[in-house]
Amino acid sequence: MSYKRKDLLGTRDLSSDELMFFLDYAKEFKNLNNQSIKKADNLRGKTVINVFYENSTRTRTSFETAAKRLGADAINFTASQSSTKKGETLIDTIHNMEAMKTDIFVVRHNCSGSVRFIAQNSNACVVNAGDGLNEHPTQALLDLFTIREHKGSFKGLNVSIIGDIEHSRVARSDIWAMKTLGINVTLFGPPMMMPNRVDAFGCRVAKNMEEAVEGADVIIMLRVQLERQGSSTPFPSTREYSKFFGLTKERVKLANKNPLVFHPGPINRGVELNSDVADSECSMVLNQVENGVAVRMAVLSTLIKNRG
């Protein structure tokens, strides 16, 4: 076991060994998920609460599925239907749920750093299911798992991450993990959606869509996070976004042989991803979803072992 921590908060401080451990462990669960009886007892008698302060379909369902397949009692907490609406603080909410002898919190929250804040103030294990613009580590793990599954290894791979980099926790978690594993990462997006100091990530930055896609083995298209943009519109129109920053079949041809196209979902079809790409054989969207369950089973199982 090369992951000894109580929580999984991000990929920025994870070592190569820790990342590879999760990917290897997830393989066991992928095999299990392909059997007719998809059940293990790693979390039997344990309680996992999905604490979601933001709406989510696939991540929450994925974690819930993972917990249930491991035998846990998985409970979903949705902030919009809770005492949060009555003014209860985040930590009071967590402490109340902890008092119900919760073993693992899976937390999604709209504030960066909030999941770390919970982990520092809770005895339960905490998994970051996306905090603000900061990190979404299990998404990075499932992306890596899917890449390795199709490419065999990470050595010499070129990955391009394209779109709303500034507002993307997926991008951050992917960048940190991929850099640790020696992957060449290229970033590209509309200037208003790139951090002012994009050099903080230590990645190559492309000048246009063609340059971003050229030579890529993997293209990760990010969702335009319209709900995070605030009142100001960061680009003139979806039509123009698609024209200059969207992935088309023609542009995919500039990539290396057999490129993989990723998208964390949900896709804005015709904006960041054209349907002729989204539904093509290079699209990994559903593979990502499938592998997400296995990766999350590996994470939950590991943390519960570490908790003892």
């Binding site: 930590i91 929250h109 804040f117 603000g132 050099d199």
Partner: protein
């Protein structure tokens, strides 16, 4: 009542000398080599004796938010930090935008009797930025300057009127420089660290745009603009240019901006969340250089107490601001230790220039005939800044619980000892 300070190392802005000080009632009666009789004698061997510190920017949260601090606890924190004169900001509840509130604040401070409290009135009614307050009336009641601190005045026309009107009365305007059309929910400095942490950033330019506007308005009106808590290199460049052009501008820097950078936020510690935010090393160095060169007129703490619940929360939701009064001396002494400023500069920045700006003729120096507002500092004392020392009702300081070096060990206000570092002078 005669108080005698012997073996003092007296630090004034224009020099340091060894002497004894006789205080009679509320005045410095004599600076002498002689040993004189007194009702009480303080041996200041190894200590620095400075004029009482003047903090031109504090928040005492009174009236309205007394659970964070009030005028009594704020006064106690001030003297425990060596500060004998304070200028509390107007963002109280109700807002200090009329003479009644101004008088009430002064009366409360006088009743406690620890500090001179010189209120800053609001520029605009209820801090709405729409129309200026009855400034003449408030000045008569004891206010000394005007600011909507915390809420920048967005309307250039309102700011122009404020500068014109305060000039008429010989007062001045303090500007919290932010172009709020660029706010975008920013919670820290926009830079590499915000990119890494995924926190919304506030660019330097948000401050600099407003500094630029206010320089121009001061040029237009001839009014005196004082730029609060300068935090960026380019703000300072523009202030330097304005000063060279003869524009009536002064400015202040806070200890946290010359001590910390945005790198301190890497663990999402809400006690480092403040406005303007901690910036990058180049900005910090520019502030330190400005303090050294005299470009920055004063050090002010922007003492901003917040209840524990205001900080024990998600970073995005945490309140802006940190305590400052009781860490002013150790952080400024660190500047001296680092060779950035001299002890004389420290007096210039924390007492002499504030007294000049406020036109206080009997403060800002240890001189015969001056008011006996005196801070005795031990530059070598090491201690933990904790609940035993803290006089504020709040604890929102990243230095809370940390070991500090240097402190005000005795504070004298109007000739009376109002602070005595615990277990030290016994």
């Amino acid at each position: 009542m005669r108080l005698f300070i012997k073996n003092a190392t007296i630090v004034n802005s224009d020099g340091t000398k060894k002497a004894n000080i006789l205080i009679e009632d509320d005045k410095i009666a004599k600076i002498t080599d002689e040993n004189l009789d007194a009702d009480k004698v303080i041996d200041a061997t190894g200590k620095l004796v400075m004029p009482g510190l003047i903090d031109m920017h504090v928040h005492f949260r009174d009236p309205g938010y007394e659970y964070k601090d009030d005028i009594n606890s704020g006064s106690e924190a001030a003297v425990a930090g060596g500060v004998t004169t304070v200028l509390p900001m107007a963002n109280t509840n109700p807002v200090n935008d009329n003479a009644v509130i101004t008088r009430d604040m002064i009366a409360k401070a006088k009743a406690r009797g620890l500090v001179d409290l010189l209120p800053i009135g609001a520029i605009s009614k209820q801090l709405k930025g729409e129309g200026i307050t009855e400034m003449g009336d408030m000045l008569n009641a004891g206010a000394v300057a005007f600011s909507d601190d915390g809420l920048p005045v967005s309307s250039s026309d309102v700011m122009r009127a404020a500068l014109e009107y305060t000039k008429h009365f010989g007062s001045y305007v303090i500007s919290h420089c932010e172009d709020c059309s660029m706010c975008r929910s920013g919670v820290m400095h926009e830079g590499k660290v915000s990119a890494i942490l995924g926190l919304k950033g506030m660019p330097r330019e948000k401050e600099e745009i407003m500094v630029s506007r206010d320089m121009l308005l001061a040029k237009l009106t001839g009014g005196h603009i004082h730029i609060a808590h300068v935090s960026s290199q380019w703000s300072l460049k523009m202030i330097e240019m304005a000063k060279k052009e003869g524009i009536n501008v002064t400015c202040e820097a806070t200890p946290h901006h010359f001590t910390f950078t945005d790198e301190n936020l890497m663990n999402y510690d809400t006690n480092f969340k403040m406005s303007p935010p901690l910036r990058e090393i180049t900005d910090k160095e520019a502030v330190r250089e400005g303090l050294k060169s005299g470009l920055i007129d004063v050090i002010a703490t922007d003492h901003a107490p917040h209840n524990v619940d205001d900080k024990f929360t998600e970073f995005d939701h945490a309140a802006f601001g940190i305590l400052g009064l009781q860490t002013l001396v150790p952080l400024t002494l660190k500047l001296v230790e680092d060779g950035v400023i001299t002890l004389e500069d420290m007096v210039r920045l924390t007492s002499k220039r504030p007294a000049e700006i406020l036109n206080l003729k009997n403060k800002g120096a240890i001189e015969e005939g001056y008011l006996a507002d005196i801070t005795i500092i031990d530059p070598d004392i090491e201690y933990v800044y904790d609940e035993n020392l803290n006089k504020s009702k709040s604890t929102n300081s990243p230095l809370f619980g940390k070991m500090l070096k240097g402190a005000a060990v005795v504070t004298i206000k109007n000739g009376k000892i109002v602070w005595d570092f615990p277990n030290l002078m016994a």
